[in-house]
């Protein structure tokens, strides 16, 4: 199956700072999603972005499919942004909707 690597594994910021999270993947994809996992475990959809750039408020994401990476930008961080951010991809060679997840980036934002 496809390999997904996220970096950095941990990120500690002060409120108001900006950050960039990276996701590298080992093969061509037809699906790429960014999630925020809240303290109760639920995965919240942030972006569905197999290619291109999207923005939603203080968050934006870019996927360069030909170079097999995606970036998640968080601007003006708030304490409520804390949690684990996951990148998940679907491999283009499969007919399934199966997602492969990275190990996540643990973000902590201090007031």
């Amino acid at each position: 199956g496809i390999q997904v690597e996220q970096s950095p594994p941990d990120l500690i910021l002060q409120e108001g700072a900006n950050s960039t999270l990276r996701c590298n993947f080992s093969d061509s994809v037809n699906n790429l999603q960014w999630f925020h996992q809240n303290p109760w475990g639920q995965l919240i959809n942030l972006f569905y972005i197999p290619s291109g750039t999207k923005q939603n408020g203080r968050l934006s994401a870019t996927t360069v499919a030909t170079e097999r990476y995606s970036l998640l930008y968080i601007s003006s961080s708030q304490t409520t942004d804390s949690g684990v951010y996951f990148c998940a991809v679907g491999e283009i060679s499969s007919t399934l909707g199966r997602l492969y997840f990275g190990r996540g980036t643990q973000l902590t934002v201090w007031p």
Partner: protein, 114 residues
């Protein structure tokens, strides 16, 4: 509209017992997938179901089984529980489960095996 729902929220079982977890997809979605997330890792794919048929299975033993009902809800069953089965079990729904379709996750069931 309601999102993906799962029950129960938490569950404590003893080694060797059996457990059944339930999931209802978003209205209009016909595909359900199950994932297992152990502490400190990303979710791992267990099964995908579409129109009541299993469309794919991850690297999990036969103790894990699932089914999908005519209303597209799903059950995940785990027999002969082991301590290592302790995890968060997540259900995801998508329109038809085809490759490339966006998936939406439920709140999860946290299973503890003692």
């Amino acid at each position: 509209d309601a999102g993906v729902t799962q029950s129960p929220t938490h569950l404590i079982k003893t080694r060797g017992q059996h457990v059944t977890l339930r999931c209802s997809p978003i209205s209009g979605h016909k595909s359900v997938s199950w994932y297992q997330q152990v502490l400190g890792q990303g979710p791992q794919f267990i099964f995908q179901y579409y129109e009541k048929e299993e469309r794919g299975r991850g690297n999990f033993p036969d103790r894990f089984s699932a089914r999908q009902f005519p209303n597209y809800s799903s059950e995940l069953n785990v027999n002969a529980l082991l301590l290592g089965d302790s995890a968060l079990y997540l259900c995801a729904s998508s329109l038809e489960g085809h490759r490339g379709q966006e998936q939406y996750f439920g709140p999860g069931t946290r299973l503890t095996v003692t």
